[in-house]
């Protein structure tokens, strides 16, 4: 299998789906002439022309709303928002329209579209450009939510998202765009929504990592194995809605311990939700309270030393696991 970077895998998914289905078009700020703030859409304007690769004004709410209207009438838009923080300007169209329309019109109309955007800290971009807001979108019924952590998943999940008849919020991680991995060449390589990946098997503790934290959790698991003789099982849910709870529960019933790692804020976070689900359904199997490792409960500071303290690293996961095993 060829090795691709995460951004190249996404580019390949867009390219292949646009070739396969001429209802698919992409729309967003600086995705065409500029070729994407993170270069995910590189070369697509040249390949598909400006009817299908549409540069927009800086108008997030309207861009998403235009996507919703187009999707309601038979097209399959893929909207790019430059950063998850900017999607907050589009929350009305995402929550009140994109997510609600199929339900509130009793299924008479579908909204088959994807809103792609990156998130994440580590680049010193301060409080308006660095957050991880998957919890916010997890909160909203009516949308599907994907958080790919590897190039292969990025491709397979994006292709599945574009083919899905539901609206999908597709959150990439800025720190992963350059990450390399093997990616199936198959133009029908799909990763189904609702199927977690077990990245590493182990008996002593289950670590669930969200988005980039799935990668960080694997690094922690290596250290735990090499230096502390602890076998961690690492699970990457890949999609948060639908969530593959059975795979997570099965793992927790085996290991009897669980740590959930996310980069987002702790209160009302993905981990808070998941911990509640696990204790509802696997309480009797737990030998220790479920632990969460999260981003700091703060707007992201710019200054490098503070920013590094404000999101989880492998060492913290290692420490947390050691404190409970």
């Amino acid at each position: 299998m060829p090795e691709l970077r995460y951004r190249e895998a996404l580019n390949q998914a867009l390219r292949e789906e646009m070739e396969r289905d001429d209802r698919v078009f992409i729309i967003g700020e600086d995705i065409g002439v500029f070729q994407g703030a993170f270069k995910v859409t590189q070369g697509l304007l040249e390949a598909f022309g400006d009817q299908r690769v549409r540069d927009t004004p800086i108008s997030e709410n309207t861009i998403v709303g235009v996507g919703v209207g187009a999707a309601m009438t038979g097209l399959r838009p893929v909207v790019e928002l430059m950063t998850v923080n900017f999607s907050l300007l589009a929350l009305d169209q995402i929550v009140n329209h994109m997510a609600a329309i199929p339900y509130m019109f009793n299924g008479q109309v579908k909204v088959p579209m994807v809103v792609r955007m990156p998130q994440g800290a580590g680049h010193q971009l301060g409080p308006t450009h660095s957050h991880c807001l998957e919890a916010l979108y997890l909160h909203v019924p009516g949308i599907l939510l994907a958080v790919p952590s590897t190039p292969a998943d990025a491709k397979g999940l994006l292709k599945a998202a574009i083919r899905d008849d539901n609206p999908v919020v597709f959150i990439e991680h800025e720190s992963l765009y350059g990450a390399k991995g093997e990616v199936p060449e198959d133009a029908d390589h799909l990763v189904d929504f609702g199927q977690a990946a077990i990245r590493r098997e182990g008996e002593d503790v289950t670590i669930v990592g969200i988005s980039r934290m799935a990668i960080t959790a694997q690094q922690a698991a290596e250290t735990l194995a090499d230096e502390h003789d602890i076998a961690a099982e690492v699970i990457d849910p890949r999609t948060l809605r639908p969530l593959d709870l059975p795979t997570i529960l099965e793992s927790v019933r085996k290991t009897n311990r669980c740590v959930i790692v996310e980069e987002g804020w702790p209160h009302g976070g993905v981990g808070a939700n998941l911990a509640a689900l696990i204790q509802e359904q696997a309480f009797d199997y737990l030998d220790a309270p479920i632990q969460r490792v999260t981003g700091a409960d703060l707007p992201m500071p710019y200054s490098k030393p503070l920013e590094q303290l404000a999101f989880p690293h492998a060492e913290q996961i290692v420490e947390r696991v050691r404190s409970m095993v």
Binding site: F34, P57, E60, N85, Q124, A296, Y302, S303, L306, A310
Partner: protein
């Protein structure tokens, strides 16, 4: 007109200080001393200085993520601006904000904001507060041509006109929103006309000419102050550098940039109009100030881990 000549010299000095600051900030970014995104305003110095010099000390200024120049023109010590870029505790935002989020309350510089279009409603609120407190302060709100396409533009202009708020909306038309040229993102490219439908009168100035910018902004600020009306001023300028330091600039012709740099440099052209200016001497003096700013930033401490939660709540 001795007074006028002194003012002109001061404008020149302010523009040159901003230019050299920006150049050095770029160099520090290349050395990894500065992180994040760094948006330079090289080429836009006349727009910045002309506008800020038309303001009174008790007027408010609010800007975007491209705001080192606004802070410096308002009188913030370049040392503290550079320290912010370095992420140091001595920076204008204590290292929490970085290049995109400068603030100097003492000088009524109400901040730079990383969300395009996010500052317009804040400006209306600041102007509302001036009215409420029965003062005659004016708010100057600076934003880009790209920002004029956010919903906040229409919403804020309407509200400000409705409530007769003393705010000058200054659109810095540098002709690009990131990599998208004005005519590719805006239907009405005469941006000063875009307030008409809201009842907000528009003026245009040559943003490459500090004198013209000063005059037009003075008129706008005066009208906002006395007539209690919002005004939209379009300053036509050009950004000589990329959108940010990370921009390969594939979306515009090198020749176009070259022509603007050579023909319309606001500093060179303005200096040429003044008699008896020794640019080299001025430059040397400014160089020393910038060296001191870098040294200060370098030697300052990072914020401590213990301070991380400070100011989250009052």
């Amino acid at each position: 007109m001795a007074d006028g000549l002194d003012a002109a010299r001061e404008w020149l000095q302010a523009m040159l200080l901003i230019r050299r600051f920006e150049e050095r900030a770029g160099a520090m970014y290349a050395k990894n001393k500065v992180g994040g995104f760094l948006h330079l305003a090289i080429g836009e110095e006349a727009t910045i200085v002309g506008a800020v010099r038309a303001m009174r000390d008790d007027d408010y200024l609010i800007s975007t993520y491209r705001s080192h120049g606004h802070a410096i023109a308002r009188g913030t010590d370049p040392k503290r601006v550079m320290a912010e870029l370095f992420g140091k505790a001595t920076g204008v935002s204590g290292g929490r904000g970085g290049s995109m989020h400068m603030f100097d309350g003492e000088r009524r510089f109400m901040g730079g904001y990383g969300i395009v279009g996010g500052n317009l409603p804040l400006a209306a609120g600041i102007a509302l507060s001036s009215d409420y407190r029965e003062t005659d302060e004016v708010t100057v709100c600076v934003f880009g041509d790209g920002a004029a396409n956010q919903g906040t533009f229409g919403e804020t202009l309407n509200l400000a006109a409705l409530w007769k708020l003393p705010v000058v909306f200054m659109v810095t038309n540098n002709q690009f929103g990131m990599g998208t040229a004005l005519e590719r993102h805006t239907a009405q490219t005469d941006l000063h006309k875009r307030g008409e439908g809201f009842g907000v009168p528009g003026l245009r100035c040559d943003g490459m000419d500090v004198g013209d910018t000063y005059e037009v902004m003075s008129e706008a600020i005066e009208r906002a102050r006395t007539d209690r009306t919002p005004i939209l001023v379009e300053a036509v300028t050009y950004r000589f550098a990329g959108h940010s330091m990370a921009d390969p600039e594939e979306y515009r012709e090198k020749d176009e940039v070259k022509e603007w740099r050579e023909q319309h440099d606001p500093i060179k052209n303005f200096a040429a109009k003044l008699e008896d200016v020794d640019l080299d001497a001025l430059d040397e003096e400014i160089g020393t100030r910038i060296d001191a700013a870098v040294e200060f930033a370098e030697e300052s401490d990072f914020p401590t881990p213990e301070s991380m939660q400070d100011h989250l709540y009052a």
